[in-house]
Each structure stands twice: as structure tokens, then as C-alpha cells.
């Protein structure tokens, strides 16, 4: 038991040191993923990274009430900024029990950004291991995480808007 505990403690300490220069995952490069959308088409993050888009990855679920506040807000921002290279990928954490409610919910709110299904929670497990809902990751034009946020309350609107517009203000790199 003591060897195992020592190993775990050493590993935890190394993990903490490994990324001590960044907080909230900010600054780390976002790895690509591919998930099906509501029509079964495979959607990847890679094209957005290649275009140097600012991307919000929004983890949500039909049973999550704060998500019903955050995602309509992201839809407004998406309509406002999509021509500036702004994209939203909404990843539903609904399981089989509530997956049939995803499409009506999307229709009810009129979301036009891609809504993806993570049926076996592979992407959630990697990028949102606490399975927090809502949980948002803003990726900057350099493909690195610019901001992360768990939950959504009224005053989060201004902070999220500021972070997204700050990321959009940065120019794309010359190819």
C-alpha cells in the first residue's frame, strides 16, 4: 500500500508541475476529436483549427437547466460573429434515456451550430472528466485553450462575451 501511495503522490506532484505554467488548461493545445451530429454525419474539430477559428466547445444536456440559459446565449453570439471565424460545437452528454429529447430541444431554441452526440462519453471523459454541465472551452485562433468555465449564472454572460471577443480580436496567423 505504501509503495502504491508513494507512486500516486509522485505522479500527482509531477502532473501538477507539468503544467504549472498554465491554469484551467489555458494554453494547452486542443487535440482533435470526431463525433456524429444529429443526422449521423461525422464532425471534427480539425477543420475549425485549420481555419484558425475561435471555437467554443459547449458540453450540455437536455436535463441541465443552466445549459438552457447558456446555449441560447451562444447562439446569439454565433449569429453575430460566425462570419468573423467563430464556431460553436455543442456536445450533448445525454445518454440513451434522453437522447430522443435532443432534437426537439435544438429545434425549440433554434440552434444553428452543430450539435454532436458523445454516446460512449469518450470526448467528455477526456476534456470534461468531471462531467460538469454546462462546461465550456474557448479555443483561440492558435488552437490553444484560451478560457474554460464550469456552470453558467447570469453574470457569466459578460465574462464569456469578453473572452470570446478578445479571442476573435486576435488576427489569424499568415500561412
Amino acid at each position: 500500500m505504501s509503495i502504491r501511495f508513494a507512486c500516486i503522490a509522485a505522479l500527482a506532484a509531477t502532473a501538477a508541475c507539468a503544467s504549472a505554467s498554465s491554469g484551467g488548461g489555458v494554453g494547452r493545445r486542443m487535440s482533435d476529436f470526431t463525433l456524429p451530429d444529429l443526422d449521423g454525419r461525422q464532425v471534427s474539430l480539425a477543420p475549425n483549427l485549420a481555419h484558425q477559428d475561435v471555437v467554443v466547445i459547449a458540453f450540455w444536456a437536455t436535463w441541465c437547466r443552466p445549459c438552457a440559459i447558456e446555449l441560447p446565449f451562444l447562439q446569439d453570439l454565433y449569429v453575430q460573429h460566425r462570419n468573423d471565424g467563430f464556431a460553436v460545437l455543442a456536445i450533448s452528454m445525454d445518454g440513451p434515456e434522453s437522447e430522443s429529447q435532443v432534437r426537439p430541444t435544438v429545434r425549440r431554441y433554434g440552434w444553428t451550430f452543430p450539435v454532436l452526440l458523445d454516446r460512449d462519453t469518450r470526448v467528455v471523459g477526456l476534456h470534461n472528466p468531471r462531467r460538469a454541465a454546462p462546461y465550456s472551452i474557448i479555443i483561440g485562433r492558435d488552437g490553444r485553450v484560451a478560457y474554460t468555465h464550469e456552470g453558467f449564472v447570469t453574470s457569466d454572460r459578460d465574462e464569456m462575451r469578453t473572452q470570446i471577443e478578445r479571442a476573435l480580436a486576435l488576427p489569424r496567423r499568415e500561412e
Binding site: 507539468a18 449521423g40 438552457a68 454516446r119 471523459g125 477526456l126 468555465h149
Partner: protein, 528 residues
Amino acid sequence: MRTVLALQAALAIASTAEAQEVPGPSVSVTETLLGERHGFNQDRRADNDDYWDVKNRLNLSVAGGAYTGALRIDTITYASPPDETYVNDYRFERVSLRVDGELVSVTAGDFYVLFGHGIALSLRKIDELGLDSTLRGARLDLHLPGRWETTIVAGTTNVGNVDEVNRRLVEDPRDQIVGGRTETRIGERGSVGLHAVATAPRESSTVEGEDRLGAAGVDVAVTNLPGGFAAHAEADVQWRRVGGVDPGLGDRAHRPFALWGDLSWAQGPLTLTVELKDYYDFQPLQGSRDPLTGIYYAYSQPPSIERTDQQVPDNRNIYGARMRADFRIPGTEHALFANYMQSRTRNRDLDEDGYVLEDVGAHHHGYGGGELRLGGGRTVFQGSGGYRVEQEIASGDVLRRMWHAEADLTMPLFGPHGLHLSWIHQSWSQKNPVDGDARLEYDKGTAIVEWDYASRLAASLGFEYDDEVDQPGVRKLFQFGDVRFIASPSLTVRALVGNQRGGLKCVNGVCRTFPPFAGARAELIVRY
């Protein structure tokens, strides 16, 4: 030990790469440290009072090129535990390595997996119930992007070892599971999938022989059709050997099956959805028995067509339908929705001609609500309510009925201040199992007032009530205070003091009884 050293080396390299701004692996660390003081929770049990615990969960993932590695370390340490069944534990709970190629992906270690709609196989994390099972073994994914996907899995089951409900240690059941699934796209409008899965529980449910369970099925998705239609359907059959004997064979053969489907139609502001299910003697993919609860581990979860948190009387021998209408009021952001669900449970009996099915219970549940959005969506009010009846068909008696209401208001106050009010309520009436003429009546609910400031601070006061157990010494009213402080994107601190109600919590027909909480809780969430 070698694994640890290799991972440490990888992390050290990652650290150096990041410091020098050289493109390297992407390292993600999420750590949750939870310390709790459990006081006297007044649930008539002494074995869960007056102790401390500290629980830590470290999630680490490293992605670089085609490789993705993930690790989770869980630890729990007790102080002044009530008895010797509370055991300190430190372990590598999840370890996995995935390699992605153009046509092939291979995963070794722990992974979640779901086939189709979860009827045959569903190993997922259900945080609300503290359930967290993975398959520890190997997974092979073959794919022609956008055209064809095949998945083959084999391994043994690995559960979260510190039970979230009662804080005791459970060992992994290590039930063997093997399965495969293939799915192909049909143009731009749909897909067809086939799957099969089999399990061999490590422990049999009887002493006579071994248990074996298996299921196979087909699922179809047709989406994006003209006229705004979309549909999904799945059909599965099941076979099982209990104690070495197949109860489905013999001169009165029967084969358990499951049928599920949904059809939605969207036109303008209106979306209609119909969901159907028909499960005949279809058991969840069953593993060994959980030594703490005495309940068998289940590795599949057929959709229930009920509200997500509804207690479902029986999801094995049941058929029914749910209809849902969603309507967005034109020219506004306001929306309305309505649901009606009806289902019937049935008994399977033997008579001279074989198996006979008889409807025994009928369930009706209607609910609906609306959402009002004002000020460009800054103020949102959501309200809903409904009524449910569960009836015994033979006698016509109402076994249980319940009405429920929910209200939720989010609004800005002044400057960076915001307000959130929420209330959920259920009133139950059920037939007294001891005295059939009398009825048990009880209410349960939660009301919360929350204030938030500048996306940094949120403080709430909660009030709860639950008089289901109407006995002396059992607490019926609960109060708590909760503060959440986001110090930075990497650090969130949360603290709770007071009492919270326990009781039955359900997700998709799976229920667990949680003890009430009394004491204090502090949580530290760190992300790197």
C-alpha cells in the same frame, strides 16, 4: 511501477516542451479534492454518522499525435470512521492508451462503451447515482470515415471502487464482456447498425451452474427526410443461461426481446416526437452481485420513455408510448412543451399452452410547461408541472399518484449582480402495503435562492422537505448554505454547510437510495 515511471517521464517531457513553446503533447489535468464532515444525519442508522473523509480524484490525459493516454487516480482517507468497513484506499482507477490511425483505432485499458441505444450494452458514467463502470481490456475501431464503422470490445468490468452512496469500498466485479458492432451509412439520410454482446459474470446467481447472458440487435436511423421527419428504431433479442440452464428453451420456448423507436416531425415552430417501447422479459445485461447493496450490476440500460429522474416500476416487461410537442411562439423567444406517457407492465405466467402475458399495471403521466425569455434572454423563467397515476389493472386500485411542479427564474439584478430562484416539488399518495384502505401521503421538495456576482462568486441558501418516513427521530426539514468561488480558471472552491435530504434518486429507471447529509463539505477543483 514501470507504468508510473513511464508516465512520469512523459509528463516531464510534456512540461519541458510547454515551457519552451515547442509543439508537444497536450496535457490536461483535472483534480477534485473533497473533504467532508459527516455529522448526525437522523436517518435511524448509526453506521454513517460522526466521521470525516477526504476524497481526491486526479484525472490526467496526455494527447500527442496519434496517441492519447488517460489516467485517473482515486484516493479516499477516513478519520474517526464509525466501523472497520470504512477502509482507506489509493488506486489507479482508470488507465488507458488509445492509438488512432486513418482506418484503425486501438484502445487498451479502460473505456466506456455503448452499442446502439444502450439496450444491449451501455457502460457509461451516471454521476447522479454514483455509478461508473468501464470495460478494462481492448477495443478495436475500424472506420471508413462517413461510410462504415466497426467496433470490437473485450474485457472485464471495472467499477468505481469507492461507492458514492455509502462511502464503502467495493472490489471490481471483473465480469467478462465481449461484443461487436458494425454500422454503415445509407447515403446522407441514415444508417443501419448490427451488434451482439455476451457476458460471463464472475459469480453465478445460483449454485447449480454458471450464468451466461447475451443479446443481439439491429438499429436504424433515418434523418433529414423531406417534410421534417426523422426516425430511430432498435430491435434486440436476448438469450440467457441461469445456473447453466436456458429458461427460454424447452417445450415452452420463449425468447426475450426489446423494441424501441422514436419518430419526430418538425415544421416551422412546432416539433412533435413519438417514442415507443415494447420490452418482453428483457433483463439488463447482468453481472455479479454488488456485495454492498445485494443488487446485480447491470451493463445495459434500455430507454425508459419516462422523465429522466422518474422512478420506473418495471422496465423489463413493459410496453408504452410517449408523445411530446415543442412549440416556439413565433416572433418571440418564448416556448411551450407538453408530454403524455402511457405504459403497461405485464406478468409472464406459464399455463398449459405455454407462456401467457397478462397486463398488471397501467401508468399515465402528463406534464408540460413553458419558458419565458425577456431582455434578450437575460431574464429566463421556466415553469412546468404534471400529474402521474400508477394503477393496478385487475382491481382498478390506484397504487400511486403524484403531482409535481417546477419553477426556475434567472435574472440580472444591478451591475454585475444576478439572482437565481428555483423550486421543485412532488406530492405523493400511495396505497399502504400493510393496510390497503389507508394511503401514505407525503411531500418532498427543494427551494434554492442564489445570488451571483461578476462570474466569480455564487452563494445560495437551500430549504428542503421530505416527510416520506414519518417516524420520530427522522429529520423532515433540511437547510443548507452553499458558496462557490471561482478564484481563477484553474481554481474553484466550493463549501456547503447544513443538512440535505436523501432518498430515492433515479436515472432512466435505475434508482439508488441516498442517505441524508448533515455536516460540512469543502471542495477544491483544480484544472491545469
